[in-house]
């Protein structure tokens, strides 16, 4: 009975380590296979379309409204000090440094990450992955690596779009709706926004892209338990990816700024 209790404490911890180990191993294998011929550009391109292009609309909407609401919120704060001109700077800095990369990554996780997990999970439970292995085609090279590459490239692109439309949204609300001095708004934005802010945001986005694709592929790749298992894998993929993104965001921010 005592041994049983010990087991119950140890096994979850053990599982966490095993999970991290498996994810790391999978990441390592994908990088290994990325640089092995033959290169499957078709696969990568297809994933880029899926991860990137199909997420543009949702990212644009997220970005615009985030910028707008930031302008609205910070306006009420800054008005108390009579420095409404700083709204532009606040919106631009928040979006480029933080909200652009994070919200884009979360939206892509919800849209594409869940789809990756479901797709690979279905292939696993219908034994398509096993079939690939039988045909001597490495499933990591053909299924996982293209998704990671596509996310790695597409996330920064989506983020720069989100940054841009977010700042434009803030400008529309701040200058056109709330009537903040346009010159002060734009000049303060340009004055306080550094190139490093944008670049660091994009680096973050690339890291988030890798995290969400690796985690989602891992969850899908090792699915077990039929249709129910696929559903569980999809949910776990989204949850674990999102949490990992937010945790790594803090770490990255503390390193960068």
């Amino acid at each position: 009975m005592f041994e049983n209790l010990l087991q119950r404490i140890i096994s979850p911890v053990e599982n966490i380590f095993r999970e991290f180990g498996s994810i790391g191993l999978m990441f390592y294998q994908s990088i290994y296979w990325m640089f092995r011929r033959p290169f499957k550009f078709d696969y990568i391109l297809k994933q880029m379309e899926f991860v990137g292009l199909n997420s543009v609309l949702v990212v644009v909407i997220t970005g615009v409204f985030t910028g707008m609401v930031l302008a609205l919120q910070s306006y009420h704060g800054f008005r108390k000090f009579g420095s409404e001109g700083l709204v532009g700077m606040t919106v631009a800095l928040s979006i480029t440094r933080e909200l652009g990369p994070v919200l884009t990554a979360l939206m892509v996780t919800g849209r594409a990450g869940s789809a990756m997990a479901a797709e690979l999970g279905t292939m696993r439970v219908t034994e398509q992955i096993d079939a690939l292995m039988v045909m001597a085609l490495n499933p990591i090279k053909y299924l996982v690596a293209p998704r990671i590459i596509a996310s790695f490239i597409m996330l920064p692109l989506l983020t720069i779009i989100a940054d841009f439309v977010g700042i434009v949204g803030g400008y529309i609300v701040g200058v056109k709706l709330l009537g903040i001095n346009e010159g002060a708004y734009i000049n303060k934005t340009i004055q306080y926004l550094d190139l490093d802010d944008i670049y660091n945001g994009l680096i973050k986005a690339a890291v988030f892209g890798v995290i969400l694709s690796v985690v989602s592929c891992y969850k899908g790749f090792y699915t077990s338990g039929g249709a129910e298992g696929v559903g569980r894998a999809t949910t776990e993929a989204v949850v674990v990816s999102s949490v990992s993104i937010l945790i790594s965001d803090y770490v990255l921010t503390s390193i960068m700024f």
């Binding site: 391109l45 880029m48 379309e49 597409m154 692109l157 720069i160 779009i161 340009i190 550094d194 944008i198």
Partner: protein, 335 residues
């Protein structure tokens, strides 16, 4: 069919990538002030006692216009050595001054250069030595704090001086002032009619005075004629001219008076006379002769003093004849 699909995917992804890169470049150009095309410039060095609030990229301004940036900040012998990167086309005179300033109370720090009038300019690596130290907020607050403390001490001392006795005195003084003012009020109330009469008379007098002055102005009456009549003035002028000719005649020894003034013999006579007088006075001094006795005698002196007093009294009486003096003043004001 399959190929068609492929091209379409490539196109789509390609468009997305291009759009993303365009936006990235656009934002980089807008945001990057020194940006991708790093503007050249030359270095200047400044030593500050306190460089708090300064960072690399802190703007350097002349008259509010950005002319460069802080490049780096180092510690050199407990002073902050700040390297500035100034734009090439901006030339800074050698006698320029430099100061760290803040934009408003909450604003960011910046470096202000106050250009001098020198015709020589700083070269690359030059050091601006004329640093104006502006007090930072800690110092200002310390000063304000001290002032407030002094003020408080003064108040304490003041309240120490005013004991209960002094308070009583002050109260009494105030009461006295009140009674006095009440009395004054009473006096005014009783004599109200008299006072109004006095004021009325004064107003009548000043009105009359006004009309007199008016008359004088217009040359009416004797005084008016005196002031306004030209003939009088002309007479005076002629008299002065005549006097002048007489005096020139005297100068030249013309006429009897002239001879009197110019003749040497007369001068010698006068000198002898003065000498004689001197001898006589010396005699008097010694008490010789009858006049000498007269001056030295005490009783005589007292008598003379009494006489002088009487004369004084007579003169006082004369001064009391003020209307004449007033007339004199009025005439005086008109000339």
């Amino acid at each position: 069919m399959h190929r068609q699909q492929n091209i379409s995917t490539e196109m789509k992804v390609g468009i997305l990538v291009v759009v993303g890169i365009i936006i990235l470049f656009y934002m980089s150009f807008r945001v990057g002030k020194f940006g991708v095309f790093r503007e050249g410039g030359y270095d200047l060095v400044v030593f500050f006692d306190n460089a708090s609030g300064l960072d690399p990229k802190t703007p350097v301004q002349i008259a509010g216009v950005e002319i460069g940036k802080v490049k780096s900040i180092q510690l050199e012998g407990y002073r902050a050595k700040v390297n500035l990167l100034i734009k090439d086309k901006i030339k800074i005179p050698l006698d320029s001054k430099i100061a760290v300033k803040a934009q408003g109370v909450l604003g960011d720090k910046y470096i202000e250069v106050k250009p001098g009038g020198d015709k020589k300019y700083f070269d690359h690596g030059g050091t601006i030595k004329d640093v104006i130290t502006t007090p930072d907020f800690d110092q200002i607050f310390a000063t304000v704090n001290r002032a407030a403390k002094n003020f408080g001490d003064t108040l304490d001392e003041f309240s120490g001086i005013i004991g209960p006795k002094e308070k009583e005195n002050i109260k009494k003084s105030l009461d006295n002032i009140q009674t006095v003012s009440n009395d004054f009020k009473e006096v005014i109330r009783v004599n109200k009619e008299n006072i109004t009469l006095v004021v009325k008379n004064a107003s009548v007098i000043s009105g009359k005075l006004g009309s007199i002055v008016n008359d004088v102005e217009q040359g009416k009456g004797t005084l008016g004629l005196l002031v306004k009549d030209e003939t009088l003035y002309n007479d005076a002028k002629e008299t002065v001219a005549a006097l002048k000719t007489i005096s020139t005649d005297i100068e030249q020894g013309k006429g009897s008076l002239g001879k009197l003034a110019k003749d040497d013999a007369l001068y010698n006579d006068a000198r002898d006379t003065v000498k004689n007088i001197k001898d006589i006075t010396a005699g008097i001094q010694k008490g010789e002769g009858s006049f000498g006795k007269f001056t030295k005698d005490e009783g005589m002196y007292n008598e003379a003093q009494k006489t002088m007093k009487k004369i004084q009294k007579g003169a006082d009486g004369l001064t009391e004849m003020t209307p004449i003096t007033i007339l004199g003043t009025i005439i005086g004001t008109f000339f």
